[in-house]
């Protein structure tokens, strides 16, 4: 009995392991895979080109992509094609990160945000508006009206394809 009491006394002096979530948050590992975001370029254009390779790679069929064609009057991404509809069903997603690996433009990235809650199944479907990151400083929101002849490539040229 004395032994047990001693244990109790010792633990009273120790620092508590409990974290006061949500006021305090535990740091996550560098390669933690949480909620996805769709990234933008510095000028505000979306990186996503609507190729649906993420959807093809997805083992749980959580991603739905519908593509459409950019015009210079209404430009979403630098290439010819953009995602008109981009949805991820977070109830289906198993956070494996295959979408991130499949993405040819590094548009979809898994962040360290693990706070995914919803009270309705319908709310588990994250639309493109929810997934897109905010327009960076100095950039313009999409769709943008651009000068013709600037974005003539099918897909933006990747600086270092081995990256």
């Amino acid at each position: 009995m004395l032994k047990g009491l001693l244990e109790t006394l010792r633990s009273m002096t120790e620092k508590p392991v409990t974290i006061q979530y949500p006021e305090v948050k535990r740091p996550v590992r560098a390669r933690f895979r949480g909620r996805h975001i769709l990234r933008r370029y510095e000028n505000g254009l979306e990186r996503c080109i609507g190729c649906a390779l993420c959807a093809a790679a997805c083992p749980s069929d959580a991603i739905f992509v519908e593509a459409a064609e950019n015009t210079d009057d209404e430009r979403y991404s630098p290439g010819e094609r953009y995602a008109r509809v981009y949805e991820i069903n977070m109830l289906r997603c198993i956070f494996c990160g295959f979408c991130e690996d499949a993405c040819p433009t590094e548009a979809i990235v898994l962040t360290d945000n693990y706070e995914l809650t919803f009270t309705d199944r319908h709310h588990s479907i994250y639309t493109k508006e929810m997934l897109l990151e905010p327009v960076p400083e100095g950039g313009k929101p999409t769709p943008q009206k651009v000068e013709p002849g600037v974005y003539t490539r099918a897909i933006p040229i990747m600086q270092d394809p081995t990256d």
Binding site: A52, E69, V85, P104, A154
Partner: protein, 823 residues
């Protein structure tokens, strides 16, 4: 079967017919030799060098002519110092081919590396990505890495519209020339070509409108990269996301086999929609091609103007009703009245025709086919039979094409007749005006519209060179249409042509017979089941107790029929749209489109083929056969109406021609050559393999009684010297309700106009663009004139289904319209 040749490919000994190319022989043996420029349906050119293989031939002793043997007794084989192209080298006796050696692999790697020097590798956004031969072959044989400078890649135009239907991506193009060769050799519309040379070589179009060909969509199928894509499908979906469903083209009597690619779409409110239409291989019907009408003309099935609920006339107005109400109302209307006339159009399936026929005969009514062309009964008795395939026509055979412009009316038949002529069959084209088919004709018979029957009759007399060519042909296939003919004249024409077959002794041969070029997909099916056209339709409708119209719009086509319909006692209409006829109906039932339901169609060659449901039905619509059965149920006539296959079983029991057929039988397939689909995309293109049925040709009805004398039909002579014979002619892209919703084709659609010969126009004192008033009795129209040297004198051609109420040819008075002052 010609002489067989035995050769060895990769250690496998195979025997193939002499003259076959190594690449085809290897494919037969199940060995893949990758190709880009070669296509089994076209002559080889050996441009891409992808098919290089090691070829060895036995060494022959020049003195004895015998092969020199090795010490072990096997023939000595000498391999060439260089690789040879498997696509241009025919097989020879004792040849040894190696496709898997180090040298060959090296060569393939080199070719791919070169092809990719300027290929953009934008596979993620390319419409071909996922079904791309270049992508697949690079994965299989490519080097994986390029030694070329990335910065040196050529940057070319990515979005070059070759017309409004097809887009070219110059960067992706590997200049294999498949599309150019297809257009010049297969379609014979050489409207695209190579321009410039070297690194600047590119595909250009020089027609107006751009890429002006009815077969242009096929180039996107055979393009081995994503250089040619259709505007219709552009970025529509990735190939692996779509579900393929077998179907049949609804537009013409050829019955091309299609595959509908379906995908769920958020933009369409989460519904499943058709993303694209692709050809499906059927070597007896369309081989691996389809025309652009079939490819782009499916949009009517998803038109927002489709009927979505039954309508019932209450207090003189059509008002929405429930199905129960509408069915009961229709049955009530029929019960009270005698003299039911069912007027059915060729868009119905065999099942619909059959059920409708059952009801109408049970009520002692008449089953009328909505058609201005006759001869279906002759096709039943003197049509093609058994396994006959137009591809079997060649030297010693003859094809006669009368009163039809196959290129406009049934493009795939045009293609197959042209190919028969190229194989050596004697082609005889008879028409009042030049048509595109005449380029390949051995004889051209030209007549004035009013003397067509005399001309055909003279073929029976057997003196002219044309008649002799027909008489000595082993097999004779006759395509006949209705251009310039009234219903009675068309009946007489069919009788004469049947007589011609009998007289020449060809009627019994399977690959000889009549083929009717109907205006709709299943007009022949209507004939098979017992529907017959009515020469005095207006009178029949006006005196009918009740008229039951299905898939026809008489009121929209002809104001006289519209008036007649108003006199009819009670009108039931089944249609996709609220047509002019539907507006005059007492009950309107919304039906399902062919993409939403099951059924079968009988092609002009009497091949019965199944189509399958591809998308869920539009809410509140039902298939025609079901509606008919449900109305019949209210009348106490028991009919099968739940499933199309059960109706078909009933049909097969009732009609001798359909005996022994069932949906299972229609779904049978055999292996076809060339192999397409599966892993053979690089070989045949993205055409789909046929796994859901080749269809079955109906048994030929016994000739029965002697051929009757044809009715003495007089085509009314010109009432006056300056009278004009107004003839409705078919244009592929018309303003019909099943085509107008395909906005992509809008620019190419025929407009209401009057085509006149230069002499006629000069006589009237008009030029292109001016207007002419044509009239006959009460009938009068004012039309814009186009002067066209191909039009016969004293005739005026008016494109069908363009809003001009002209169903049959008509003598009219023409005069220059007085210009009204502009408001």
């Amino acid at each position: 079967m010609g002489k067989m040749v035995t050769l060895t490919i990769d250690g496998q000994v195979i025997s193939v017919p002499q003259g076959m190319l190594i690449v085809d022989a290897a494919k037969k043996a199940g060995i893949d030799i990758p190709v880009f420029c070669y296509h089994p349906k076209m002559e080889p050119v050996g441009m891409c060098r992808m098919c290089l293989v090691e070829v060895g031939r036995p060494v022959i002793d020049r003195t004895t002519g015998q092969p020199i043997l090795e010490a072990d007794g096997t023939p000595k084989i000498q391999f060439g110092p260089k690789l040879e192209t498997a696509c241009t080298t025919p097989v020879s006796e004792g040849m040894v081919v190696r496709t898997q050696t180090q040298v060959v692999a090296e060569a393939r790697r080199g070719i791919i590396e070169f092809l990719l020097t300027s290929h953009p590798l934008d596979c993620p956004i390319c419409d071909k990505g996922g079904e791309c031969p270049l992508q697949n072959l690079t994965m299989a044989y490519g080097p994986g890495e390029s030694r070329f400078q990335y910065e040196d890649k050529m940057h070319l135009a990515k979005h070059v519209p070759l017309g409004e239907l097809i887009y070219l991506d110059r960067e992706r193009c590997i200049l294999c020339g498949r599309c150019v060769r297809f257009q010049s050799n297969v379609a014979d519309d050489p409207v695209i070509a190579f321009s410039q040379r070297g690194r600047a070589l590119q595909i250009v179009t020089f027609s107006e409108p751009g890429f002006d060909s009815y077969f242009s969509g096929n180039t996107t199928d055979i393009c081995p990269v994503g250089a040619l894509t259709t505007a219709d499908f552009r970025f529509g979906a990735r190939p692996w996301e779509m579900i393929p469903t077998a179907s049949i083209c609804p537009h013409c009597p050829v019955g091309c086999n299609l595959t509908l690619n379906v995908r769920r779409e958020a933009a369409a409110g989460g519904r499943e929609v058709i993303k694209r239409v692709m050809p499906r291989q059927n070597e007896w019907v369309n081989e691996i091609w389809i025309c652009d009408k079939g490819r782009f003309g499916y949009h009517y099935t998803e038109s927002p103007e489709r009927l979505r609920q039954p309508l019932v006339r209450k207090n003189g107005r059509l008002e929405p009703a429930t199905w129960e109400e509408a069915l009961a109302f229709a049955a009530e209307g029929l019960r009270e009245r005698s003299g039911v006339v069912a007027l059915a159009g060729g868009r119905l399936s065999n099942e619909d025709f059959f059920n409708l026929y059952q009801v109408v005969t049970a009520r002692q009514g008449r089953a009328v086919l909505y058609s201005t062309m006759a001869g279906g009964d002759y096709v039943q008795r003197y049509g093609l039979s058994g396994d006959a395939n137009l591809a079997g026509l060649g030297k010693g055979d003859a094809v006669l094409v009368v009163a039809t412009d196959l290129h406009e009316e049934a493009p795939l038949w045009w293609l197959r007749v042209k190919q028969a002529a190229e194989r050596g069959a004697t082609l005889i084209v008879a028409n009042a005006r030049p048509t595109k088919l005449e380029r390949y004709a051995a004889h051209v018979i030209r007549y004035a519209y009013s003397e067509v029957l005399e001309k055909v009759q003279s073929l029976l007399a057997g003196e002219s060179p044309e008649a002799q060519a027909l008489a000595k042909a082993t097999n004779l296939v006759i395509f006949f249409g209705q251009e310039g003919l009234s219903l009675e004249a068309s009946e007489a024409l069919a009788t004469m042509l049947a007589r011609l077959l009998v007289q020449n002794g060809q009627a019994e041969r399977p690959l000889s017979g009549l083929v009717a070029v109907w205006p709709h997909a299943n007009t022949q099916g209507g004939w098979e089941i017992g529907f017959r056209p009515d020469p005095d339709l207006a009178h029949t409708l006006a005196t009918a107790g009740a008229v039951w119209v299905a898939a026809a719009d008489p009121a929209g086509d002809d104001p006289i029929l519209a008036q007649a319909l108003e006199k009819a006692g009670f009108v039931i209409v089944q249609d996709l749209f609220l047509t002019e006829t539907a507006r005059r109906a007492d009950v309107v039932f919304p039906v399902q489109a062919f993409t939403e339901r099951e059924g079968t169609w009988t092609s002009g060659e009497r091949r019965v083929q199944r189509f399958y449901p591809a998308v869920p039905e539009l809410e509140n619509t039902r298939p025609d056969f079901m509606i008919v059965a449900q109305v019949a149920d209210h009348l106490g006539i028991p009919l099968v109406g739940r499933s199309a296959s059960r109706v078909f079983d009933e049909l097969a029991r009732a009609l001798p021609a359909f005996a022994g057929l069932s949906y299972t039988r229609l779904a049978e397939v055999v292996e076809q050559w060339p192999l397409v689909g599966r892993g053979d995309l690089y070989y045949g293109g993205t055409v789909y393999e046929n796994t859901q049925g080749l269809g079955v040709r109906l048994a030929r009805m016994s000739a029965g009684a002697e051929l009757s004398e044809w009715p003495a039909v007089e085509i009314a002579p010109a009432p006056a010297d300056d009278a004009l014979y107004l003839v409705p002619v078919v244009r592929l892209y018309d303003q019909g309700q099943t085509l107008v919703p395909s906005h992509l084709l809008q620019q190419r659609m025929a407009r209401a106009a009057l085509y006149l010969a230069p002499a006629t126009a000069a006589q009237l004192g008009v030029q292109t663009g001016e207007r002419v008033e044509v009239s006959a009795g009460e009938w009068a129209e004012t039309l814009t004139v186009y002067v066209d040297a191909n039009v016969p004198v004293k005739a005026g051609l008016v494109p069908r289904s363009t809003g001009v109420p002209l169903r049959q040819p008509l003598w009219v008075r023409a005069q220059r319209a007085v210009l009204e002052p502009q408001p």
